[in-house]
């Protein structure tokens, strides 16, 4: 058993006249939250479908826990598709047990798990009602149970937060973190970059069918920090020394001048020595690019 739940090696997928994935290589470690990022149409869903064995890769290989991905791994994977849908006319409990059984659970296990999750989500009372009677938020929660009911080791969530209100999004976040604690790997795909910053340990950027960036989120941020600093002072400051490049000059909400500077061959302390005599400093911090900035930067 390796340390990786999933290894994607040079996977390509072609549709008539179009390349959906172009030699994508990724490794996803165990028990982490892995963000799969990219704009709509970048190829995220194609990759997820391959991992889910809905379609086959035209090139390359996918390893699940060190083995070549096959039908025997279905039991260990959970999936929440981007477009949600359930049988409208079927009772909640029947729906859940059916999907659980399709993923390999026996009837007893399926029923136990369904009850357990319904209680956890606060939906136990409505287990004998039909889906069509519920609000969208409730349907989303039931759909989420469908994804986790087989206690997967790898949980694939495609745009998990779309359609959730803030309260339920919070609940979902808590459950995701709880699952991670238990050793589950969560692969989640989204085009909303900011959600990745808060949750993900690892990420990959997919753009125009290619994987353009992947790794630990903190490492990537480190890599993209590029010696930029933010400085807020009481009075305006002049930056005329060699080695300091003024990138922008703005004003904070409170009306103080705010500068973005880049240092070349100059230590933080030397820089501070230069500016401290000119004004009282209110803030000085290393500027960390947001994932969005990183994305824009990598694409261009």
């Amino acid at each position: 058993m390796g340390n990786h739940i999933l290894e994607i090696k040079g996977v390509s997928k072609f549709y008539t006249g179009k390349t959906a994935l172009d030699k994508v290589t990724l490794t996803i470690p165990k028990s982490c939250i892995y963000g799969l990022l990219g704009p709509n149409g970048a190829g995220k869903t194609s990759l997820i479908r391959i991992i889910n064995q809905i379609t086959k890769a035209d090139e390359g290989q996918v390893l699940f826990d060190g083995e070549i991905l096959g039908p025997e791994h279905i039991r260990r994977i959970g999936y929440l598709p981007e477009e949600r849908g359930l049988y409208k006319k079927v009772k909640v409990i029947d729906q859940l047990t059916y999907f659980a059984k399709l993923r390999g659970l026996n009837s007893r296990e399926a029923l136990d798990k369904a009850h357990w999750w319904l209680k956890k989500m606060g939906l136990y009372e409505i287990r004998n009602k039909k889906i069509e009677e519920f609000s969208k938020g409730m349907q989303q929660k039931i759909q989420f149970i469908v994804a986790v009911i087989n206690e997967p080791e790898l949980l694939i969530l495609d745009e998990p937060f779309s359609g959730f209100d803030p309260v339920n999004a919070e609940l979902l976040t808590d459950i995701i973190l709880e699952l991670k604690q238990k050793g589950v790997t969560i692969l989640f795909s989204t085009h909303r970059m900011e959600s990745v910053e808060k949750l993900c340990d690892y990420m990959a950027l997919i753009h125009q069918s290619k994987n353009i960036l992947d790794g630990k989120v903190s490492d990537i941020k480190q890599r993209f920090r590029s010696d930029k600093f933010e400085l807020v002072s009481e009075k305006p400051i002049q930056f005329n020394q060699a080695g300091i490049e003024l990138l922008s000059e703005t004003v904070t909400d409170a009306g103080y001048p705010k500068y973005m500077v880049k240092l070349q061959n100059m230590s933080h302390n030397d820089f501070l020595k230069q500016v401290m005599p000119q004004s009282e400093l209110l803030a000085f911090n290393v500027y960390m690019p947001s994932i969005h900035d990183i994305f824009i930067q990598s694409v261009s």
Partner: protein, 431 residues
């Protein structure tokens, strides 16, 4: 296999426990019983109708020689001398008709009534009159009434097979046609149900979750077989329940309506060539002429074969489209051979179950379930049945394989309007 069973079970249970299914299962036989009841009531009320029509005969050419046809069945005759007065009477009462004879020979007449007569009523009247002319001309030549009567030769023909059995053609046609119609109805009703189910799963994306766990082919087969079981359950329930209802209704209505008088009238109403031979009529209801094993085995085989063949086509259609409204263009070529089968069953088979058209159509897989069913009661050889069934099931395997290809890609293709071109591309997709 386990997955197919799981899907089959789910499809079966969810459909059978639906309110609409239960209502239809209970209501179906009630409707059938009510249908029969209405037919019964109408036919009896027609038979026992005492209202007769008066035919006012205006005969300026004296073609009838002042002798009127005797009152027979529902027609009473009376001479009139003035057709203008008679028209007033006709306008007042729809049961009064004016018959104007236009020449001496009596082969041209006008029948004037407030309402048009039915074809059978007019036929009856024509027959009555032509018999009257025939008889009166013969008696003019000096033949006695009894001699004329003896000239009306009655024929009793008994249709027998070499084996000595009654051929029971009417019964055979009836049974064959009812069986064929059930197959036809079943394929349409439940084929469309499968198609809808596939489109529903595709539309609400459930299919993504399912095919991540099972093969699309397993999903399709599970669905087809599950719905087949639902249909079978419904038909069994219908047969049992309608049996009960029809018996109850027949007893309830029949006890009141059928009496000696009516039975007499029925026998009078049977056309001349058959009338009188009540034994033949009774033999109609004897099943001795039927090879029941062959019919039952054949029915089950062609019922399932036909259903499986068509429902895989319906499943493929359901997977290719995004909504029910788009299905029309694909429904047409699929339902054509089925409807054609029923038409051939009606025309060719009832005329001659061993005509080459009937034989060929009972071999061609898309028409064979319906056409073979109609031929079955007419002692089709086991070899022929086996050949037809083999062709049917072989083409089912071929079609289900092709349908599976369309299905596999279709269920995951959203947003693009399905076209024949697209579907052919899917068919020849290598992976």
């Amino acid at each position: 296999m386990k997955n197919i069973l799981l899907i089959l079970k789910h499809e079966y249970i969810t459909r059978v426990s639906k309110k609409s299914f239960i209502i239809m299962t209970l209501l179906g036989p009630l409707l059938i019983a009510a249908f029969y009841g209405v037919i019964f009531l109408i036919s009896f009320s027609q038979l026992s109708k005492t209202e007769s029509r008066t035919v006012l005969v205006y005969d300026p050419y004296q073609s009838l020689n002042n002798a009127l046809p005797a009152t027979k069945k529902a027609y009473k005759f009376a001479f009139i001398s003035d057709s203008i007065d008679a028209k007033k009477e006709v306008a007042d009462d729809e049961n009064i008709l004016l018959l104007r004879i236009n020449n001496f020979k009596g082969d041209s007449m006008d029948l004037i009534g407030k309402k048009s007569l039915s074809i059978t009523d007019r036929q009856e009247l024509k027959e009555l009159l032509s018999n009257h002319y025939f008889n009166s001309r013969l008696s003019q030549k000096g033949l006695s009434a009894s001699m004329i009567d003896s000239m009306h030769q009655k024929i009793y023909m008994k249709d027998q097979l070499l084996s000595g059995q009654n051929s029971g053609t009417e019964l055979k046609s009836g049974i064959g046609y009812i069986g064929a119609f059930i197959i036809y109805l079943f394929i349409f009703m439940y084929g469309v149900m499968i198609m809808r189910g596939v489109t529903e799963e595709k539309n609400n994306r459930i299919v993504e979750i399912i095919v991540s766990a099972v093969k699309p082919f397993e999903l399709m087969m599970g669905k087809i077989l599950g719905v087949a079981m639902v249909g079978l359950t419904q038909f069994l329930a219908w047969i049992i329940l309608s049996g009960v209802f029809v018996t109850v209704l027949t007893v309830a209505i029949g006890a009141e309506q059928i009496n000696a008088h009516d039975v007499q009238q029925i026998s009078q109403n049977i056309p001349k060539q058959e009338a009188g031979n009540m034994s033949e009529v009774m033999e109609l209801f004897q099943f001795q002429s039927l090879n029941l094993t062959k019919i039952v085995v054949g029915f089950v085989v062609f019922f399932f074969g036909g259903f499986l063949l068509y429902s895989s086509l319906f499943a493929a259609i359901g997977s290719a489209v995004d909504s029910d409204t788009e299905t029309q263009q694909f429904m047409f070529p699929v339902s054509m051979p089925l409807i054609l089968g029923l038409v051939i069953a009606q025309i060719a088979v009832i005329k001659d179950p061993n005509s080459s058209l009937a034989v060929w159509c009972s071999m061609i897989p898309l028409t064979s379930p319906v056409v073979m069913m109609v031929r079955l009661p007419f002692d089709v050889s086991w070899a022929e049945i086996a050949l037809s069934a083999t062709i049917l099931f072989a083409s089912f395997i071929l079609v289900v394989w092709l349908a599976g290809k369309i299905y596999r890609i279709g269920i995951l293709s959203y947003g693009q309007k399905a076209s024949y071109k697209q579907i052919f591309k899917w068919l020849f997709n290598k992976s």
